[in-house]
């Protein structure tokens, strides 16, 4: 049905042509569900844009063939392509809210496609658009027809995008990271919906994702890409159980999943034994009935509704939940960036909630509670070099100056695995993983006892994530820190934490040891979260 041979895609830039895709070949049969998996910069999205011929300005298919049902996609005229897009081959995208025209009713956006491909007349367009909305299981479709994207949730927007893509009954659906940015439960409903529709209509599909687990769950066959090349292809089980290419192997190993230890994420030669650590009996942090209430436009919003939990000395606690569950608000209150409405935050018996957040900067305990932020890029001052960023807390909170300061910064860099020659670079000159290390080095610089980790790996590729998680694992043993690990990803929490606290709607639904909660969840919501997480096929040999 689709046959790609030696496809090359290049972009014209000021420094000459850059090849994003360097000669890839694969075939897609009718009704087949293909997954293209790769990390950022692997050329997986570019491949799909090239097939649709919707590359950005400067991009073009430099060489190779792409034939769809006998049509040469490389040489077809623009007007022929226009008829193929949406009618034969459709596409859905990541970030669904941005993928919809913000000032046009969603119903009209569906009508535009139907009218374009002569699938509807002015008279029956509305009826057909509503039918398309119903097909993606939108309740009360007639009312949703009138809605604008800003009035809908992210998951709902993605359904609209799917409705637009499927309105004209195309034969092939390309899904480009369709669930990035969606909550894990929404991700599951969206993926299940797409999968059901594709199967029911006998369509072929290409799922482009960075998540090997997701691809293996929803695809018949997987192609792994790296740096514009296909390194391996095969069926998901084979790929997981017996990867041939070292890169696939590393990718498979680095994907967090059930039943592996944190060290197994690393390449085999780097698997040093996990350092021993001791968990004390005394509580380091005692959160008691903590509440946060905002004044919203329409009355008070209870972001955190009185939660209590304890972190013991040396213990790592995971705080898990979907967006809006109050986990970030909770961590902001503990780290004293946000005033609590009521409740206690006892740090070794001293109630931090009574200390005004505004003056906490000069409190001796400031150095004891630090945080690593979600987005490493955003959390580094773009005008400061890595050295300046790491030195900042030392300048404010220690007496180190001059050579001693230099030595300490370099020691921290070494500790976090950041080559010291990179210290004088600005954030924009560092890679994502390096920026994450700078952020961690800065957080541990004042020698904290409690480190709050706010999804520190969410923006990283899985191979980098594996390194950073292991670094965090080493650091806590070495420096005797306790962690509060905030995350939406249960598989990651399982690797790093001793205890887990599951939050929903500002309240704790379940808490306990990682093994208890993960293996025998008592709350239905925890079960839902666990089942929504994509499950990679188990490796026969662990």
């Amino acid at each position: 049905m689709l046959s790609i041979h030696d496809l090359n895609v290049s972009f014209r830039t000021r420094r000459g042509d850059v090849n994003a895709v360097k000669g890839i070949s694969f075939d897609l049969a009718k009704g087949e569900r293909l997954g293209i998996v790769g990390e950022s910069g692997s050329g997986k999205s570019v491949t799909s844009y090239a097939l649709m011929r919707i590359l950005d300005a400067g991009g073009r298919i430099a060489a190779g063939e792409a034939v769809y049902s006998g049509i040469d996609l490389r040489r077809a005229s623009e007007s022929a392509m226009k008829d193929i897009r949406g009618r034969e081959i459709s596409m859905i995208f990541q970030n669904p809210r941005a993928a919809l025209n913000p000032i046009r009713k969603v119903g009209h956006q569906i009508e535009d496609v139907l009218r374009q491909h002569a699938q509807a007349t002015a008279a029956n367009a509305k009826e057909k658009a509503i039918a398309a909305l119903e097909a993606v299981r939108i309740n009360d479709a007639a009312a949703r027809y009138e809605a604008y994207p800003f009035e809908l949730s992210g998951g709902m927007c993605q359904r609209i995008v799917i409705a637009i893509a499927l309105a004209c009954n195309p034969k092939l659906l390309i899904a480009d990271e369709p669930t990035t940015g969606l909550d894990i439960t929404t991700q599951k409903t969206v993926m299940d919906l797409v999968d059901d529709l594709v199967r029911a209509r006998g369509m072929s599909s290409i799922l482009i994702t960075h998540d090997l687990g997701l691809a293996s769950q929803y695809c018949d066959r997987i192609v792994v890409m790296k740096d514009g090349l296909i390194v391996e292809e095969g069926d998901p089980v084979a790929l997981f159980t017996n990867p041939q290419h070292p890169y696939t192997n590393r990718l498979v190993e680095a994907t967090p999943r059930r039943g592996v230890r944190i060290r197994s994420l690393l390449p085999e030669d780097q698997r040093t034994p996990e350092p021993p650590r001791t968990i004390g009996n005394d509580p380091l942090l005692d959160v008691i009935n903590l509440k946060k209430t905002y004044m919203g436009k329409s009355g008070p919003v209870h972001a955190v509704k009185g939660i209590s939990f304890t972190i013991r000395e040396g213990e790592s606690v995971g705080l898990v939940g979907e967006s809006g569950c109050g986990k970030s608000t909770t961590s902001a209150m503990i780290v004293r960036l946000l005033e609590a409405s009521s409740g206690q935050i006892l740090y070794r018996g001293e109630d931090l909630a009574t200390l005004p957040a505004l003056q906490f900067a000069h409190h001796p305990l400031r150095s004891k509670i630090q945080m690593v932020f979600q987005d490493a890029t955003d959390s580094l001052n773009p005008r400061h070099t890595a050295r300046q960023s790491i030195a900042e807390p030392l300048l404010r909170m220690s007496k180190l100056r001059g050579d001693k300061l230099r030595a300490r910064v370099e020691e921290l860099a070494t500790l976090t695995g950041l080559p010291t020659h990179l210290l004088d670079r600005f954030p924009h000159q560092l890679s994502g993983g390096q920026k994450a290390r700078v952020g961690i080095a800065r957080a541990i610089a004042p020698d904290p006892d409690l480190l709050i980790l706010d999804e520190p790996t969410a923006a990283l590729d899985v191979s980098i994530q594996a390194l950073v998680l292991n670094l965090l694992c080493d650091l806590r043993a070495r420096l005797g820190m306790s962690y509060l690990f905030v995350s939406h990803d249960l598989n990651v929490v399982r690797l790093l934490c001793d205890k887990v606290v599951v939050m929903k709607g500002g309240a704790i639904v379940e808490a306990g040891s990682v093994s208890d909660v993960m293996d025998a969840p008592s709350d239905p919501y925890t079960r839902e979260l666990l089942s929504a997480a994509p499950q990679a096929p188990q490796r026969s040999i662990a």
Binding site: M52, I54, R85, M91, F93, L100, N101, D112, Q116, K297
Partner: protein, 341 residues
């Protein structure tokens, strides 16, 4: 869409504190600044007695809050004081001259939008092409142009050198009679009167000053159109539309341009501010009998009541224009009023 109706009412209500602020500032400009307003209002040829008389008639011997109440009371009755130079009430003078200024401003704005918006779109759809280069040159050069200087250059070239423009004196040459007053806009009134000769005469007078103003406002509008169009064309929803096979015209105008229009409309508020200011200079250069040249003449003879009345009138006009722009925005953007957060 109840929220939207509420948001629109809220926007109209928000104009009220601004109007109050404008009145306070113009009161402060009149009464509270250094210098003796009585001396200023009495005019250049004042005697100590006449100054004292002015002081009392303006209530300047009373405390400031009381003066403010009197001032507001007078405003509510449409009393902006007497113009010393003409002896007529300032409000009448302004009302008589306002249509001339509005006609000039609106024609200039229509002219510049008609050129700038297509230019901006062309530049954005063909980045790097000669249209784009031309647009960038015009944009940078355009904001650098002192309007009064551009006006003089146009007069020199089209009146003195080429002799194709009429003498730059007023709205209509002496050979024509003013058309009967209906709207006060000569172009419209002459057409209503069925007098094409007068229409052409008025148009010939109008072209140079309107072109001067248009050249000045071209730059910000073209720049914003280009930028907004570029960012709209780079947006994710354009990619969705392309992937769905929509044709180029639909994508360009139905999707990109309508979104790009939002920042352009917002920019128009700033453009109005510029154009109303530049109006004063252009009216002086072309001896255009609008409120701007009236204010300049009043300045020369220290007719302060006239100047303050002019400032207040311009501000109120601008508040209304901004309101109109925001309401236009609310029509285009369904999100208006929904972004409560």
């Amino acid at each position: 869409m109840n929220g939207r109706g509420a948001a629109i009412s809220l926007r109209i209500a928000q104009a009220i504190p601004v109007v109050i602020g404008v009145i306070v500032i113009s009161f402060l400009l009149t009464r509270a600044l250094p210098g003796d307003p009585a001396v200023q209002f009495a005019g250049a040829a004042a005697t100590p007695e006449s100054i004292e008389q002015v002081r009392q008639s303006l209530g300047l011997d009373k405390p400031l809050p009381e003066q403010f109440i009197i001032y507001v009371g007078q405003l509510l009755q449409g009393d902006l004081g007497q113009s010393v130079s003409t002896g007529r009430p300032v409000i009448q003078e302004l009302a008589a001259r306002l249509p001339a200024s509005l006609e000039l401003t609106l024609v200039a704005l229509i002219l510049s939008c008609a050129i700038a918006i297509p230019l901006g779109i062309l530049a954005a759809t063909r980045p790097g092409s000669w249209v784009d280069q031309l647009c960038r040159l015009l944009v940078t050069a355009g904001v650098s142009l002192p309007t009064f200087f551009t006006g003089l250059v146009l007069i020199y070239v089209f009146y003195y050198l080429l002799g194709i423009a009429p003498s730059p004196l007023g709205r209509l040459d002496f050979i024509y009679l003013d058309p009967p007053h209906v709207t006060g806009f000569f172009l419209i009134d002459s057409l209503l009167d069925g007098d094409p000769a007068t229409f052409m005469g008025a148009l010939r007078q109008l072209i140079l000053p309107a072109a001067t103003l248009a050249l000045f406002t071209l730059a910000p509008i073209a720049r914003m159109t280009r930028t907004a169009m570029l960012s709209a064309l780079g947006a994710d929803y354009i990619r969705t539309a392309r992937a769905a096979g929509l044709n180029r015209g639909k994508i360009l105008y139905g999707y990109a341009f309508r979104n790009a229009l939002l920042p352009v409309v917002t920019t128009l508020g700033m453009v109005f501010s510029f154009v109303l200011g530049a109006n004063v200079l252009v009216e002086k250069v072309f001896a255009w009998p609008g409120i701007g040249s009236y204010a300049v003449e009043a300045l020369v003879v220290s007719d302060y009541a006239a100047v303050q009345g002019f400032v207040l009138a311009m501000a109120l006009l601008f508040v209304v224009l901004n309101l109109v722009i925001d309401l236009a925005y609310s029509i285009i953007d369904p999100r208006f009023g929904a972004d409560a957060k």
